[in-house]
C-alpha cells in the first residue's frame, strides 16, 4: 500500500515536472469542508467539484483534493470538522459554510495555522478568508425588477425565505427588500420559510396562504418555487408568477405551464459549479497570485427564451450548472481586482 502511494506520488511529481506552470502548487493539498449534501444543488456542487478537482490532481496541478461533508446542517459539526482539517495539515480549505459568523473562530484558527481559507456560496465574514459568491443582493433586486417589467401595476408579493442565519438568506432578503423599496407599487404581504426545499416550502406556504389576499407574484430563493406552486394548487388558488431557482423540477413545471397556458417567469441562482471556481481560486492563492478577498461572479439565469435549452442541458432532478476552468478563474480574479 505504502509502495503504491509512493509510486503514485512519484508519478504525480513526474507529471508536474512537465507542467511547469503548476509547479508551485504540485505538492499542495486542498480540502473541501461542506455542511450539507441532501439536496440537488449540493449534489451537483459536489459532483462538479469531484470532476474538476480529480482532473486537476491527475494533471498534477495539485497533490491531493479531499471532500468532507457533514450530514447535518449544524454549525458545531462543521467547526469541529475544520479543526480536524487543520490538524491534518491541508494547505487550503475550501468551505461552504453553515453560518457567516459562527465559524469565524475555526476559520481564524486555520488562517493562524497558515492555511488558505476560501469560502464560497455560504461565505464566512472572518477577514482572513476569501469569499467567492454571486451577488445575491443583486439577485434579490433583479427578481423584483423583472416583476416590475411584468406587472407595471404592481401587486402583492409573497416572499419565501431560505435557511435562517446563512449569508445567502440575509443577502437575498435584503436585495428583495431593496427592490421593493425601488418599486413601491409592490408590497410584501407574507413570508414563509422554505429552507430551499420543495416540501418544506409547500408546508410553510400552506400555513400562510389562507390568511393572504390575492398574490401577484412570489419571490423565492431557489428550490422552493415548485413547492409554492403545489401549495397554491392544493388551496385551489390561481398560480401567480413564481420566480424559480434553476432546479430541473422547477424548469420542467415551468415548461409544462408554458405549453399549457403561456406561463412566463424568470429563474436565477448561483451555479453549483461555483465550487470549482473556489477550487481554482484556492489554487491561484497557493500559487502566490494576488487575489482580492471578495470574488463575485454573475449568477446563472434562465428566461422564457432560454428555458428549452436550459431544461435540455439539466439532468432530471438536478439543477442548471456551469463548471469553471482555471482560465475562467484567472479572468474572474482580474475582473474583481
Amino acid at each position: 500500500m505504502k509502495r503504491t502511494i509512493f509510486l503514485l506520488a512519484l508519478a504525480a511529481a513526474t507529471t508536474s515536472l512537465t507542467t511547469i506552470a503548476h509547479a508551485q502548487t504540485a505538492d499542495k493539498r486542498i480540502a473541501l469542508s461542506n455542511n450539507y449534501a441532501g439536496n440537488s444543488w449540493r449534489q451537483a456542487m459536489l459532483q462538479s467539484w469531484d470532476k474538476v478537482t480529480q482532473q486537476a490532481v491527475a494533471d498534477g496541478t495539485v497533490a491531493a483534493v479531499d471532500t468532507f461533508t457533514t450530514a447535518d446542517q449544524e454549525v458545531p459539526t462543521q467547526a469541529a470538522q475544520i479543526q480536524n482539517l487543520i490538524l491534518q495539515g491541508y494547505d487550503a480549505i475550501v468551505i461552504n459554510a453553515a453560518s457567516p459568523d459562527a465559524l469565524n473562530g475555526a476559520v481564524k484558527a486555520a488562517c493562524d495555522a497558515g492555511i488558505v481559507v476560501v469560502s464560497f456560496d455560504g461565505v464566512v465574514s472572518e477577514p482572513c478568508a476569501w469569499r467567492v459568491a454571486v451577488d445575491y443582493f443583486a439577485l434579490g433586486q433583479e427578481q423584483v425588477e423583472y416583476l416590475a417589467g411584468r406587472l407595471p401595476e404592481g401587486g402583492n408579493l409573497l416572499e419565501i425565505r431560505g435557511l435562517a442565519g446563512t449569508s445567502i438568506d440575509n443577502l437575498l432578503h435584503e436585495g428583495i427588500a431593496a427592490g421593493v423599496a425601488d418599486n413601491p407599487q409592490f408590497t410584501i404581504v407574507g413570508e414563509a420559510t422554505g429552507n430551499w426545499d420543495q416540501a418544506t416550502a409547500q408546508r410553510a406556504v400552506s400555513t400562510v396562504l389562507p390568511s393572504l389576499p390575492e398574490i401577484a407574484a412570489i419571490v423565492t430563493q431557489g428550490g422552493d418555487g415548485y413547492g409554492a406552486a403545489q401549495a397554491f394548487r392544493a388551496a385551489g388558488r390561481d398560480i401567480p408568477i413564481i420566480i424559480m431557482g434553476n432546479r430541473q423540477d422547477e424548469l420542467a413545471w415551468w415548461k409544462e405551464q408554458q405549453d399549457a397556458n403561456g406561463y412566463e417567469t424568470w429563474s436565477g441562482t448561483i451555479a453549483p459549479g461555483i465550487s470549482t471556481l473556489a477550487f481554482w481560486i484556492a489554487q491561484q492563492i497557493l500559487d502566490g497570485k494576488d487575489v482580492p478577498k471578495d470574488v463575485t461572479v454573475p449568477y446563472l439565469s434562465v428566461t422564457n427564451e432560454t428555458l428549452e435549452e436550459a431544461l435540455a442541458a439539466t439532468p432530471v432532478g438536478g439543477v442548471a450548472n456551469k463548471e469553471y476552468t482555471q482560465a475562467e478563474a484567472i479572468q474572474a480574479i482580474e475582473d474583481n481586482l
Binding site: N39, E191, S211
Partner: protein, 321 residues
C-alpha cells in the same frame, strides 16, 4: 363534600377524555389565526387536515414505540422519510403503472430500517435513543449516495390522488382516519396491542405473564419504520418530489404530537385520537405564527415555547390523574 360531588359530575373537566384537550388547543389557535387574518378559516382547516395526515402517520409509529416504555423512541423517522421517498420516486420513475411497485419498495425500505434499528437495540444492546439516532446517520448517508439529491417527479396519478377531495375533505385525510381507527383497534383489541401497553407498564411482569416481549418490540420498530416510509412516499407525491431533508421537521413533530395527544411518555398508555388533536394543534400554531408575520428566528423560539408549555400542561394533567 360539594367539591367531590362536582368532581365526580360527568361534565366536570377532569372527567373529559384526555385527547379532548389537544383538539381544544387546536380549536383555540385556529380561531385566533383566522380572527387575526380576518379571513381564511376554511382554507386553514383544509390545509391543517391535509398536513396532519403526514404528522399522524409518523405519530402512530412513534406512539407505539414510546408506549413500549422508558427509553423507547424512534429518532430515525426523518431519515427514513428521506430515504423511502427517494426509493419510491426512483422506482416509480414518474410512471403511473409503477406506483404500486414504488409504494411497495418504500415499505420494504421502511421494514428494513425498522429491523436494523431493532437489531442495534437487541443484539448490540444499544439504548434506542442512540441506536435510532446513529441509524439515521447511516440511512441519511445511504440516501445521499442512492438518490444523489435528485428530485424525481412523482407519477401524475399519485399526485392527483394526494390532492383529491371528497366533499371538500382531502381523500388522504379520510384514509388516514381509517388507518387511525385500525391502529386504535390494534392497540386495544389485539394481543399485540395489549402486549405493547403491558410491556410499557412493566416489561418483567409482561415477560413473566408469558407475553412475547421481544417479538412485540421488533414488530413495533418495524411498524414505525413502515409508517415513516409510507409517510415519505405520500409526502413526495404531495410535494412534487423527494428530498432528503424533507423529513427533518418530523423529528420533533412526531414526538410532540404523541405527548400532546395524551400518550404517556413513560410508556404503557397510548392515545390514538389525541394524535389528531396534536397534529392539528401544531399545524395551527405554525399557521398562527406565520400569519402574525414574525421573523423566522422569533417563530422558532415561539414554536418551541408553545410546545414546551403545552407538553408541560399535558404532563401535569396526567400526573394529577
Amino acid at each position: 363534600m360539594t367539591d367531590i360531588a362536582l368532581n365526580q359530575s360527568r361534565w366536570h373537566f377532569s372527567n373529559w377524555p384526555v385527547w379532548l384537550w389537544s383538539f381544544l388547543g387546536a380549536l383555540i389557535v385556529w380561531v385566533a389565526s383566522f380572527s387575526l387574518a380576518g379571513q381564511g378559516a376554511s382554507g386553514m382547516l383544509v390545509a391543517a387536515l391535509s398536513f396532519a395526515v403526514f404528522t399522524v402517520l409518523v405519530g402512530l409509529g412513534q406512539m407505539f414505540v414510546i408506549t413500549l416504555g422508558p427509553g423507547n423512541v424512534d429518532l430515525s423517522i426523518p431519515a427514513t422519510i428521506g430515504l423511502a421517498s427517494a426509493v419510491a420516486m426512483k422506482v416509480m420513475d414518474g410512471q403511473n403503472s409503477l406506483i404500486l411497485f414504488g409504494l411497495l419498495a418504500a415499505l420494504v425500505c421502511g421494514l428494513a430500517i425498522g429491523g436494523f434499528n431493532y437489531m442495534l437495540i437487541r443484539l448490540l444492546r444499544i439504548p434506542p435513543i442512540v441506536a435510532t439516532l446513529s441509524a439515521s446517520f447511516i440511512i441519511q448517508s445511504v440516501g445521499i449516495s442512492y438518490g444523489r439529491g435528485l428530485q424525481i417527479k412523482p407519477p401524475a396519478a399519485l399526485t392527483d390522488f394526494t390532492f383529491s377531495r371528497i366533499i371538500g375533505v382531502p381523500v388522504l385525510t379520510i384514509a388516514a382516519v381509517i388507518l387511525s381507527v385500525i391502529a386504535w383497534l390494534v392497540l386495544n383489541k389485539t394481543i399485540y396491542g395489549r402486549t405493547v401497553s403491558a410491556v410499557g407498564q412493566n416489561p418483567r411482569a409482561a415477560h413473566f405473564a408469558g407475553l412475547s416481549v421481544e417479538r412485540t418490540r421488533l414488530l413495533t420498530y418495524l411498524m414505525s419504520g413502515v409508517l415513516a416510509a409510507l409517510c415519505g412516499a405520500l409526502l413526495a407525491a404531495f410535494s412534487g418530489g423527494s428530498s432528503l431533508s424533507m423529513g427533518k421537521e418530523y423529528l420533533l413533530t412526531s414526538i410532540a404530537v404523541v405527548v400532546l395527544g395524551g400518550t404517556s411518555v413513560a410508556g404503557g398508555r397510548a392515545n390514538v385520537p389525541g394524535l389528531w388533536g396534536g397534529a392539528l394543534f401544531l399545524f395551527m400554531v405554525s399557521t398562527l405564527l406565520n400569519t402574525a408575520g414574525f421573523g423566522s428566528g422569533l417563530r422558532d423560539v415561539l414554536t418551541g415555547l408553545i410546545i414546551v408549555i403545552a407538553i408541560a400542561l399535558a404532563g401535569s394533567r396526567s400526573a394529577s390523574r
